[in-house]
Amino acid sequence: MTHRNHLRGGALLAAAALTLSACSAQAGGGQAADGAIAGEITVITQRTDIVDTVFQDYKADFEAEYPDVTVNFEAITDYEGEIAVRMNTDDYGDVLLIPNSVKPDQFATFFEPLGSVEEMSQEYRLVEEKAYDGQVYGLSITVNTQGLVYNKKVWAEAGITDLPTTPEEFLDDLRAIRDTTDAIPYYTNYADGWPLSQWDGNRGVMGDPAYQNTHVAYSDTPWAEDEWHGISDGLLYDIVAEGLSEEDPTTTNWEESKTLLGTGQVATMLLGSWAITQMQQAAEDAGGSADDIGYMPFPYQVDGTFHAQIAGDYKNAINVHSEHKAAARAWIDWFAKESGYAYDEGGISPLVDGPEPETLGDFEEAGVEYVEMEPAPAGSESYEADIVAASEIDLYGNIYRQEMVDIARGAADGDKESFFADLDQRWADARASVGE
């Protein structure tokens, strides 16, 4: 679970600062001349769960190919919180994952450019996600799509045979599950927070690769009924308001939710495709079968077709202060091409012609069209993030969505209209203060 906590705030700032100032730079073994792939590199990862197992195999394979390089790993539990503090020094490993808090115009301060967008996009997907001024700074470790994981047995038991194509149909299906089965139709995972942030990440549903360059930050009313946040947050609001979600959202538990879905006590959860393998595992551990777990696209169609966004996970980048840049570069290329990380995680390959994962068979059947979002136009890469900061509406987080769930379940004042109107108002004010 730890590795998914993208947006959790680092609480132990002081402790982290002390710990980190105590670790001095790990001086490399052989001082390599520029260009030679040699030396000792430190790779920082958020996968505390597999750093001593799977990553050790990667190390062995990589070092067999590049005998002059020694790879060391450092796994960080609260990745987002700790790495930002550490990046105030020069010592933040040779290869690291670009934290979400770094704005595009800060890339060059911290990371080594990997090549031009034009050139890199021949080989790799989604390079423009962490690019600035035409230069690419990070390569995705895996690529995810977005949708809803569901327990096929429960949905079938409720007599549902077709995938819902509109939010209304989806609500009808959830009502059927509530009325005919014992399962909780939808589980919000409110308490852990970050699962709520998943509701933002599927703007591709609107079928328009340029959507966020014409809407969202370019709209004064992102919560209008026909805009993405109005549709997605609106659906979440309706689910909770109608009592189709768990009774007490404040005491949910992510690890437990996997078992609940695997055993059919919960029918549906909105999560990225990375979650499929974890849910299948949970279903098997609970005595069920991996085939019980299905993945459906977000219930919204444009011209009769489902769309789903594909987006890169964390991206490997090179510390601009690294002394072994060539070795670091070799590692991130090798990681994308040879390690098989993306495939093993059930993700889409970061390579343009990489293998399709078996986990997304459901999407193929449903004829889902993948949408790669267009990058922001040059010069306004930070625009949306600036508005998020100015409005204090954490689009990529959970704070305002938790408020929304509280309102929907009657635990806070307001209703859907007033809350969405307030969000629109704050968003518009922030747009005015940031300026275009």
């Binding site: 900061a389 704070i399 938790q402 635990a411």
Partner: protein
């Protein structure tokens, strides 16, 4: 908070052990000679102090000075350039009602702290006399304070969730439909404050117990001879004898309730209306990348706590308690 804790333990020591320290010092003076040359500036004590003072400056004052500097900038936590913005952050804190509203949540913890002190005083008084299972009960009451706060948060989360241990217990005594202890917005802060009381009562208890036991035994004997009741013994001997400690714990309770963080952060992350000032500070810094504003909030909290400490020193000056 480290500053407050240090000051607090030093003062607790002073209050309970004042007599002993006094005796020690006067003995030191009595054995006067052999203090070394009296000419010039005595450098030796400063040499001994170099290391602790250096650490104090490096890890307390320099970071605080940095924080004060950040509070006048719009720094986002990463940018190498820290843009000064003057008093903007402070103006925002004092003009935005959203910012100050969260102090109302502290009232729940303040009420909890009052309950906590009364309970702690009650147990400390009872257990300072000869009671059966005295040491066992002392251990029981102090034990929660030794447990890691994260563990307590998780344990209470399982206790308070719907269908959890508490609901199961209530069902046994016939309460069929218990409320949602954390899900109900009118109860969530009560539940969290109660958790906090459970955790910190042991500390108050030990402080009170120590103070009560430093009251000389003869006073009780004299009271017994005069035929005083237990209540009179409490009111005329114990209460004035531990006045200092009561004053101190009151102040700690107030500053503690203003800066509650650990328990609500672990149990609800500030959701459902349980956000405290410190949680809001953390959210500003790490979710919205406003380190400048967050630093200003931290400075405001620091000043508030310093003011309260100053008021406490005015009300309860460091005078020697004289029971005779």
């Amino acid at each position: 908070m480290a500053v407050v804790t240090d000051a607090f333990s030093a003062r607790a020591e002073k209050a309970t052990g004042a007599r002993r320290i006094g005796a020690f010092l006067s003995r030191g003076q009595a054995s006067g000679p052999g203090r070394g040359p009296s000419r010039g500036l005595p450098i030796t004590p400063w040499l001994f102090l170099v290391v602790p003072l250096g650490l104090l400056v490096l890890f307390t004052y320099v970071p605080v000075a940095n924080m004060v500097w950040y509070s006048f900038t719009s720094w986002d936590g990463l940018d190498p350039v820290k843009e000064p913005v003057g008093l903007d952050n402070y103006v925002r804190i004092f003009t935005d009602p959203e910012m100050f509203k969260v102090f109302f949540v502290s009232l729940y913890y303040l009420a909890g702290a009052a309950v906590q002190m009364v309970l702690a005083l009650y147990f400390a008084t009872i257990l300072s006399f000869n009671t059966r299972f005295r040491n066992f009960l002392k251990g029981m009451i102090f034990f929660p304070y030794l447990i890691n706060g994260v563990a307590i948060g998780l344990v209470f989360l399982f206790l308070l969730r719907p269908g959890g241990t508490l609901d199961a217990l209530l069902a046994v005594v016939g309460v069929a439909e218990p409320p949602q202890w954390i899900g109900d917005p009118s109860l969530v802060n009560v539940s969290l404050a109660a958790t906090s009381v459970w955790r910190f009562m042991g500390l108050n208890f030990v402080l009170f117990l120590g103070a009560i036991q430093s009251i000389p035994n003869e006073l009780y004997e004299a009271a017994d001879i005069d035929g005083a009741t237990s209540w009179q013994k409490f009111w005329f001997i114990i209460a004035p004898g531990i006045r200092q400690i009561i004053g101190l714990t009151t102040i700690l309770a107030i500053s503690g309730s203003l800066s509650v963080f650990e328990i609500p952060w672990i149990m609800t992350s500030g959701a459902n209306g349980s956000t405290t000032f410190v949680i809001q500070t953390v959210q500003q810094a790490f979710q919205f990348g406003k380190f400048g504003l967050a630093s200003a909030m931290a400075v405001v909290l620091l000043v508030v706590v310093l003011v309260i400490t100053w008021i406490q020193r005015r009300i309860f000056p460091d005078e020697k308690v004289d029971l005779t």
